[in-house]
Symmetry: D2
Subunit: 276 residues, 4 copies
């Protein structure tokens, strides 16, 4: 079907579709990515406190979330910006997830941190670490599902090659994530590359999700961009949700409220149904 | 609603939403852009012959097209590539459109050509001419609807400013078109900027359409990218359709067949219904 | 020599180096571009008045300029910005040039303007019109030297193909100009692509000049970037010079003063001597 | 002097020029970066064997090198490409450097590798790890000089912020390196951003070097681009040199020969003298 996107089969051993067309399903506790339905991952940019993450977990659960997200180690561009609350953040996130029946995902930024992520369900590799190959190899030697974000200036081919680093070490549970690329356009934080999702869905066997929050950097674009992703059959949507975006400790300008998130889940499911 | 996209009101006098939120509707014979429904413009990259454009007009009409497209003057990167059949092409296109009840659109590349476009219903300003201000001013002094494509490296703000050139001359019938931007990613011909459509729909009063053919440059991506556009409420979709893409005189690799186009119109309408 | 930059010889018939390695020299009155020395083109962004252009012509002449530049028709992004003083501007520029013995260059933005440029020595095609093929063909049918600027998002290959449009019409007097490309970096107005000059000097027979003013958009970078261009053997440097940059009617933030320009010419010649 | 490049002083505490204009000099054994002279770092992309690195060390020493480079841990885009010979490579590099009186630099890709770099004189942080903040903090806690390469899609501001991560941990010995950015232009591997060097030299107190090999990816552009860097006062030039580029285990197409390197050092010093 893909007649003009030629990939070197020697370099893509695990990430392309099989000859039988079968696709990978990545299961995280009860949640399956790649089963044909769109899943929702929601939560704050950063875990701010135990109380806060519990409150948000409850809110996003009630609004339709399948999983809970929250950063504990934040790879901020400036060393003087809020860096996350660290190990405590992982602990609170895991607790909140268990309490409300939501599997959890959080970003890991160094292979030495692996032991601290024992109770987290998905290891997120962020855009800035997409080519941190030592980290990729290390998570590839675990059996924990990995959410691999596309670097903001990495090609689709490079994203697949980074996934190969993980899969070739043995870990087959990789979910890809489009989160916007860096271009000349500055009206949005990044440029959401919806074609990348289409292409990845056509050539790769791995599930693909979208992160409209980082892609756009603008609250009012999160809903429509999520619907665009749903229209191309994305396997999941990850959004930053905060009950008081103006006071969020990071990235408040791109966080939506729980009620906006609820609307998003309902409409995205409508779209997903329409394309089936 | 747009709390963080600040535009200088002195520079945007005609293109932004009015305080009452009213939006412009551009009417082309019986076809209205901006009325809340998605319209379909289809046809070959270039008018190749009288016979061919008649055949394609019939095929796209039957497949759900609202308008007929076809290039007569092709602004090709190389002077040694096929440049279109010129004035004859416009004549054949207009005839075919009338025969099958389809208003027509074709690209104009110099203001001196205006008299030749008398029988064409929409003047298309292509990506390479988005900042050909002499052309913009000239079409602004006519009353013919203008389809203004975003330059492949122009910002959303620059697109609106180019529209201002047309509207400030008196012509209020402008339709904007997102057709992909030039980025580092080479798996697609350009990067389709779906967020630009979302943003334009939120801030501008002008109708916005999408051109997934030029945006992706790949046949198999035209359908899903069109659905993404439909999911964000695009006012129209313009696609290159050819009954024999392999033998098309230009851009065959991005043309879809009439039956693929029919599927596209059906699914896009489903999506449009789902988001209403 | 260029072992890995493969160009299709069918598409590059006039712009590549000949087998004997001979290069084109473009002569404009007494000034030769491509003779192995670096030439200097200076003047304001826009001709503001007769008095002003005479004053600046004298200042740049005394500071080492070989040619005088000045815009009369300014292709501004916004229709509400200063658009130049038009035909009068060309007249004043030509007069000032003759008075001080400086050949002149000014930007043409539509082929219909050709008659007005009779007394101007070089026709400049600006970045926004690099792919205005009707204009390229029209200037190709004259025998006036053409200064063809690289579009801010056009590749080196596309620049050469646009030059082919001019040369294939008969006009062999084309000078190429690197003026910065649009990238994600916003600390400079554009990103000056010095490698493009190196590559063009190696593969093309046409003279290549640099425009550090538009490339950087910052006064304090004009001198060092000019020296970088001189170090790679550029055939000319075109800079915006104004005696009172803060009050310039356009682009004042990138204009240097006559004394800064004098320093530039002296140092650039030193560099040019060092690489010989 | 920099009147229009406004940086937030709260975020740039260590990397900007002091009020007295004093600049940092980074000393590595007998070699000083930032002392007003251009230094040369040369060697292969990867240490291939003990014999090979000894041979190349001797060749580059005789051709004018001040330091020896060579990768032992190669962060390759594909897991199936040659990954370097690891710890043995560091050992051979250090030995070769000592034998020929050349301090050494090699890339570190994970903080856990620090003990293995004891005998290497400069720790290189590669483009892909410019925002690997755990690594930055770790090298910041050592007293070894750090060569920090700009990420291929990172802004000048982000480069300085990454340097702040290192300096704020205590290590003041940081050298910045421009190595080309990722743009739409594909005739060169990356686009060498010479303006970034100019700007960094004007605003920052840290030495700045250039890597024309990775910036261009083309052997025949390494010399002229090096001269451009010398013309703007760069503090050092790092090039890939191989005696048999066609058989190099990595990046052979951008390696120059020892005799080309010798010519480069001679001409670059000429240029440096001319601008003083």
């Amino acid at each position: 079907m893909i007649d003009n996107f030629n990939l070197n089969k020697d370099k893509f051993r695990y990430t392309l579709k099989m000859s039988d067309g079968e696709k990978a399903v990545v299961k995280v506790k009860g949640v399956s990515f790649g089963d044909g339905n769109v899943k929702f991952i929601a939560g704050p940019c950063a875990v701010e406190s135990r109380e806060k993450i519990f409150k948000l977990a409850e809110l996003v659960k009630n609004a339709g979330a399948d999983m809970l997200r929250g950063g504990a180690f934040k790879p901020r561009t400036s060393p003087y910006d809020f860096q996350g609350i660290g190990e405590k953040g992982l602990e609170y996130l895991a607790e909140a997830g268990k309490t409300f029946g939501l599997p959890t995902v959080s970003e890991i930024t160094d292979k030495g941190m692996l032991p601290e992520f024992t109770d987290i369900d998905i290891l997120q590799i962020g855009a800035k670490n997409m080519q941190n190959f030592e980290l990729l190899k290390a998570v590839g030697r675990t059996d924990k599902p990995v959410l691999l974000k596309r670097g903001f200036s990495n090609t689709i081919e490079e994203l697949l090659l980074s996934a190969e680093y993980i899969l070739s070490e043995g870990n087959q549970n990789v979910i890809l994530c489009e989160r916007g690329i860096r271009t000349f356009e500055k009206a949005t934080r990044n440029t959401f590359d919806v074609s990348a999702i289409c292409l990845l869905k056509q050539i790769s066997r791995l599930p693909v999700i979208a992160d409209p929050s980082h892609a756009t950097g603008k609250r009012q674009l999160v809903l429509p961009v999520s619907l665009a992703a749903a229209a191309v059959g994305v396997d999941g949507i990850m959004t930053e949700v905060h009950d008081d975006p103006a006071r969020a400790l990071c990235d408040g300008e791109q966080a939506i409220t729980p009620s906006e998130f609820k609307e998003l889940t309902i409409k995205a499911k409508e779209i997903a149904k329409a394309i089936r």
